[in-house]
Symmetry: C2
Subunit: 157 residues, 2 copies
Amino acid sequence: MGRGVEWAVHSCVNMAWTPPGEPVNSARLAEFYKLPAAYLNKQFQSLVRAGVLDSVSGPRGGFLLARRPENITVLDIVLALEGADPAFRCEAILGNVPEPALQENFARTCLISQTMRQAELAWRQALARQSIAGIADSMERRFPADKVKVLDYLAAE
Amino acid sequence: MGRGVEWAVHSCVNMAWTPPGEPVNSARLAEFYKLPAAYLNKQFQSLVRAGVLDSVSGPRGGFLLARRPENITVLDIVLALEGADPAFRCEAILGNVPEPALQENFARTCLISQTMRQAELAWRQALARQSIAGIADSMERRFPADKVKVLDYLAAE
DNA sequence: GACTAGTTACTCGGATAGATATTGTCCGAGTAAGACCGG
DNA sequence: CCGGTCTTACTCGGACAATATCTATCCGAGTAACTAGTC
């Protein structure tokens, strides 16, 4: 899994903390986390294309959540950055076997493919259960001062 | 996920079908599935290092399951080929933030890392539930003739 | 003081290199089978 | 005919390229804010 996922989730949590409608400067975020600014920017572009973020150009521009944080899941972010295709692609190598009879049987009910799909489904469901709002709320409840500090840092200067 | 996983699982199922103690020729398997022989061989080497397969050198050599197929799960194969490290590596970028107070708080209970770990755990559990024996049995029960054909092809010539 | 036009600086966006992991290939070390020879 | 030795061919094993993907960087297009000038 790409490392940009971690950055993106943290960034989205911060965006959930900022006042709605107010964009967050991506360079400032990168500085905050000591990340390569241009690359973080590139990751955000993928999120914009996926409809997770909106972008604002020009001075005092930046990125902001495209919808309410309750409706953005960790899965949305992962799929936006890693691609929506399943990690396990069944190439149906059993369709290549010399016996035509086997081709039909195997292709229809490839148990391996089924197993992989079930596992990946469980993985996606676990990620889909966690929303950005949920993470942001939990963090805020545990460490109330932190949200203020983050916002101060992003707003300062 | 590497494509070798699919090959390896299919191959292990076939090995579960062959008489115990009898190695399967890897080149013959590759020919059966129309796969690059040398690369399949390379994948098997990883499985040998992981203790999933045993290898037999020399004429009439090949690979065979290192333990009973009931005790080999799909997860074993995936971890052997993809590495046992979790796909999501928490780089603890929150440990880089300028505020020392935040470092401590976040590092201890990084909810994002927790979410990712839970998801991956669910994924692994799903894969660990399926054993090679289970897949082989299901296939055989559904299409009894197939096992015979596969064994014939591998044994022929 | 308020409005408008022009300038400026800032931010996203995609196009462009570099690093890393994956995929694929090749040849040598070791081995077991089979051939050959002698008893 | 049987046993032992030697040769031989076969298979794994790891070292070596090619390719794709991920990571990182740079500069241009577009935009909103700011400035200056005018009414």
